[in-house]
């Protein structure tokens, strides 16, 4: 990917690339899988109702925990403000509506094809294949989702454990991958004391990331 395109992509996807925000959510789903597998049967709230309540509480904690993690990203890498189209709210809303619609259809017509699963996989694959494979982990997760959903090893507890594991591991892999993309793109070549390597005449460090910024085929338009 050209540097200009990378700059554009990283900036316009800055909130989504704050991958560690997904880690607590992933941990909750893995915890849920472990719970369902019966490894925590001696813990309090191991009854189905108690487990559901505990899962919801942990989910809420994970969602709340994403805010201090976001603040950490802002302290470390800065703040970017995007408009509602750029920050993906519209796309996420459209996806949610389509997902609910497909789940409803799936329930009504008993479709042999997992429509909702296909939609999730397609959305994840498009994230992975976009931006010239900057986030390839999403394609792997999409394939895993599709395989698990299609094969449906069992509709009983085994299937639920597997589904929780796929979601949990998927969230962790996606988050860590995004975090790596962001930290690589925003790796500072300066030191906090302001004594960086000697700048060139343009203020760019020799061997810096801006070398060859406009080299190669250019991209017209914004």
């Amino acid at each position: 990917m050209l540097d200009v395109q990378k700059i554009r992509y990283v900036t316009s996807h800055y909130p989504q690339l704050q991958g560690l925000r997904l880690a607590p959510l992933g941990a909750v789903f893995i915890f849920s899988a472990v719970w369902r597998a019966g490894w925590l049967s001696s813990s309090p709230g191991a009854t189905p109702r108690g487990a559901a309540r505990c899962f919801l509480v942990l989910l809420a904690v994970a969602l709340v925990a994403s805010f201090p993690i976001q603040a950490w990203y802002q302290r470390r890498f800065g703040v970017v403000r995007l408009n509602s189209v750029e920050n993906g709210t519209l796309a996420l809303g459209t996806f949610a509506v389509m997902l609910i619609g497909l789940l409803w259809v799936e329930e009504r017509i008993q479709s042999p094809v997992p429509l909702a699963g296909c939609l999730v996989a397609a959305a994840l694959a498009s994230i992975g294949a976009g931006a010239r494979w900057l986030r390839p982990q999403y394609v792997v997760i999409a394939a895993a989702c599709l395989i698990v959903r299609w094969l449906r090893p069992s509709d009983g507890p085994g299937g639920e454990i597997l589904a929780d594991l796929v979601v949990g591991i998927g969230l962790l892999v996606a988050g860590i991958g995004d975090h790596v993309v962001l930290t690589r793109a925003l790796r500072a070549s300066w030191r906090p004391d302001g004594v960086g390597p000697p700048p060139s005449h343009s203020g760019i460090h020799s061997g810096g990331r801006l070398r060859g910024l406009v080299a190669g085929p250019t991209r017209s338009g914004p």
Binding site: I7, R81, P222
Partner: protein, 113 residues
């Protein structure tokens, strides 16, 4: 014979400079961002980034605002409408130049044959 290189001098030098082009590209992809983000993205020192932003501000391409975020001073930078136009014009001109250079190369190789 037409040589596209003469047109290169007409490129906006304020935009063409790589560090400033990176800053403008980042600002074009968002509504606004802060000084720290631009510093991390470009890898420039604070002084150099300040200089580049001052030049862009003098040319009317960006505007900076000082805010207090969580009781800490915070500089927010955004692209002006003129800045967006200048960047679009720059890419369009560069694309035209690239095509002209490709045509010129083929024409000069045909002439050599």
């Amino acid at each position: 014979m037409y040589a596209p290189f003469e047109d290169m001098t007409s490129l906006d030098r304020i935009v063409h400079e790589p560090a400033r082009l990176a800053i403008l590209t980042a600002l074009n992809a968002c509504e606004s961002c802060d000084f720290l983000y631009l510093q991390r993205l470009t890898g420039l020192t604070k002084g150099n980034l300040s200089n580049h932003l001052a030049k862009l501000q003098q040319s009317g391409l960006v505007e900076t605002r000082r805010l207090a975020l969580r009781s800490a001073p915070h500089t927010s930078v955004s692209l002006t409408p003129e800045g967006r136009e200048s960047l679009a014009r720059y890419w369009s001109r560069l694309d035209t130049l690239r095509r002209a250079a490709a045509r010129w190369r083929f024409a000069s190789s045909d002439a050599a044959d």
